[in-house]
């Protein structure tokens, strides 16, 4: 069995995590998130240039003549794939037709429109609301589950670890201005599930050890439990990361944001279940009595 002194780093990592959480919080408030059209409304066109003459600047100049407001154009995955986004509200039934007509005139017909998404302002605000509700409900459900399975001290530890993971993941998305769309909400919910899963396995062992080593202080007991479950923690995180990295690298552009968020979440979730959830148990002075009371 491993015998790392995780508990001697509780303080320093708590401090670092707290700092990161505060920075993330400030980023979210002052810089905000780069919402995609799912949550902001607008139009997205994915276009593949077949004609090699077409490039980002020719696209830019032809789109800027179409009176669509602020148009963002960027490369998307392969060299000749472009993603065009603009916020013009409403989906006039001939919007896309007109764009095609204009493009045919300005850059010729050597392109293929591979994807069109248009989300109206009302729908986008509903989707945002739905996403926030889903995240809130999932946090609530986790709290409820852990509350019926464990004692309240454990719930607090697990939920703080969850908040930590979600907050810092979103903070990184804010810092890097990565797009937040529906699939990121799915990623966050999965992170919530994963982070919980990781924490619960260690907590399960803490509870078992509380009964087994009555004389051991919680400070050392958490360390023992972390060490006992460490190889599982690492192996599972590794296999999950292997799966996620192969989605990130090979799964295509559309899944990039999702898999990136998940990779962050898995790393943070693994870290927090050791360095956030367990120190909380120490702070709350969990002992043999904590769990015995419930058995009676």
């Amino acid at each position: 069995m491993n015998n790392f002194k995780f508990n001697s780093y509780y303080k320093i990592f708590s401090l670092i995590s707290g700092l990161l959480a505060i920075i993330s919080f400030l980023l979210l408030i002052f810089k905000g998130l780069n919402f995609g059209i799912d949550f902001k409304g607008g139009t997205l066109i994915e276009l593949r240039a077949i004609d090699k003459q077409i490039n980002i600047s020719s696209l830019r100049s032809s789109f800027s003549n179409m009176n669509l407001g602020d148009v963002a154009i960027k490369n998307f995955g392969e060299d000749h794939d472009y993603l065009i986004k603009f916020e013009k509200k409403g989906n006039k039934k001939d919007l896309i037709q007109n764009i095609k007509k204009n493009l045919d005139q300005s850059i010729g017909s050597g392109y293929e429109i591979r994807r069109v998404e248009n989300v109206g302002p009302k729908v986008s605000s509903e989707l945002l609301k739905g996403g926030l509700i889903a995240i809130a409900v999932s946090l609530g459900a986790m709290l409820f589950y852990i509350w019926i399975r464990f004692e309240w001290q454990f719930s607090i530890g697990a939920i703080l670890a969850l908040f930590h993971d979600v907050l810092i993941t979103m903070g990184i998305f804010s810092l890097l201005s990565l797009e937040v769309n529906l699939s990121i909400v799915a990623a966050i919910l999965t992170i919530v599930g994963y982070s919980m899963n990781d924490t619960v396995v260690i907590f399960d062992r803490v509870r078992e050890n509380l009964k087994k080593h009555i004389d051991l202080k919680i400070f050392d007991l958490t360390n023992l439990s972390i060490n006992e479950t460490l190889s599982r923690t690492i192996i599972t995180s590794l296999t999950t990361l292997l799966a996620l990295i192969s989605i990130f690298v090979f799964g295509g552009e559309i899944l990039k944001g999702f898999s990136f968020a998940m990779i962050l979440g898995v790393i943070l979730g693994t870290y927090s279940s050791i360095f956030i959830a367990n120190p909380i148990l120490v702070h709350l002075r969990v002992s043999y009595k904590t769990i015995v009371k419930e058995d009676n």
């Binding site: 248009n118 999965t190 599930g193 899963n197 996620l244």
Partner: protein
Amino acid sequence: MLYFSKIRIITIFVISIIFVLFSLSNLTKFDDNYFSKKINLGLDLQGGSYLLLEIDNSPVVTKELQNKITFLKTYFKDKEINIFNIKINEQNSIIFETDKINIDLINSIFLNKEEPINPYYDKYKSYQFDIENQSNQFKITLSKYGIIELKNASLDQAIEIVRRRVDEVGTNEPNILKRGNDRILVELPGLDDPARIKNLLGKTANLSFRFVSKSNEAELGTDLIEFEDQSESAVYVSKRIILSGENLLDAQPKMDSQTNDTIVTFSLDRVGAKRFGKATISGVGKRLAIVLDGKIISAPVIREAIVSGSGQITGNFTFQSATDLALLLRSGALPAPMNIVEERTVGPGLGKDSIKAGILALIIGFSLVILFMVFKYKIFGFIANTALIFNLFFLIGILTLFEATLTLPGIAGIILTVGMAVDANVLIFERIKEEKNNEKNQLVAFDSGYTKSKSAILDANVTTFIAAIILFFLGSGPIKGFSITLGVGILTTLFSVYFIARLLTSLYVVKNKDKEIKI
């Protein structure tokens, strides 16, 4: 935990075979009915259009209020109750006044459940209209449930018309569903350019035949209406409707044999034919405007009475626009205009690329996990990997059995399942390792390894399962596909770990019980 009866082994074997067959039925064509099911590909994988339409119900409300006013007038006239100054105000309420002696009477009539004046919905325990009364003034407003009823009725009508229009275009297996009480979801697999459908669904198709006023000046009972093709300046048209789209039996695009113009011919029902005959007899020499959605298509001069019950619409048509107009007229008018509030269209090229990328990522992710497990656990790695392979078959088999829809995020869910599925076996193997340190009898160590890891495995999987369920109920579109594969994946993981991996472990351990088993 390590004992399996013969019957159990056979059952596990049979179930595994069935699911393997189910999943393989996606690749080959079995003639058998039971194995002819296939996973549906989502629009993001096979290409297609997703359109969310929203009905703008304000004209329906206005129409309902106008009808109500007409009804109230005749109703109170029949009862010889005097009401006056009846009108609709800006807040969509009907207001009217009455003589003081009638106030209580009117109030009681409005609250009588049997009276047709204010229908009572037993379903909602509520009236269609809320009534307010201040001295001799009455204000009636559509109640919350009155509006719901109205919206539902208009949605039912609209979805029928949308279905007819989409069917007429003849796309492949369209999916048309209600969403809430004022939205319709239209999914059109395989359609990568929805321009025509959007055009057709965006039209209310309110058709009316009305006489053009002779004087061409603003008069009582006329509207100034523009021409669709701007070929003439706007003219004044009588408000009186000779004929509306409801009277149409059929409409077809045709070539006029004399002029070579594209026209739309139509035939009328009996009522329509009679009215059209009457109007054209008296109207020879007048111009008859054909008005569609507030624009004049054309306004020909009536040369002779048309009593045959059929006629034709000329206009500046191409063959396509004549076909579309005929289609719209055949399928009927929408109760209210509709807007497209969300559109997602994926071309077939991108769909194919997404499938390729998804499968590549699955193969690589799967191989990495398998190699890692063999490297880490040797023979038990093989056992875990066998369970993992069956897990995939179970997962795909269940998706096939329920003919679930697989989306790109759904494929991501499968890959993620592969990564997380080994967790349960890892928990068990690690526990067995620990137990072996304290226990000399390795059979006992294996057994208690399984028993003691149970609660951690349960907790770990329940948490992810909760997340999947919430995502399923609150997520939308392709994300639902992710929650399905993630959720089903957890169930199949538990099955494959506790039946397949455990069976293999038990066979191996029992066979080698006299040797030292390394894990």
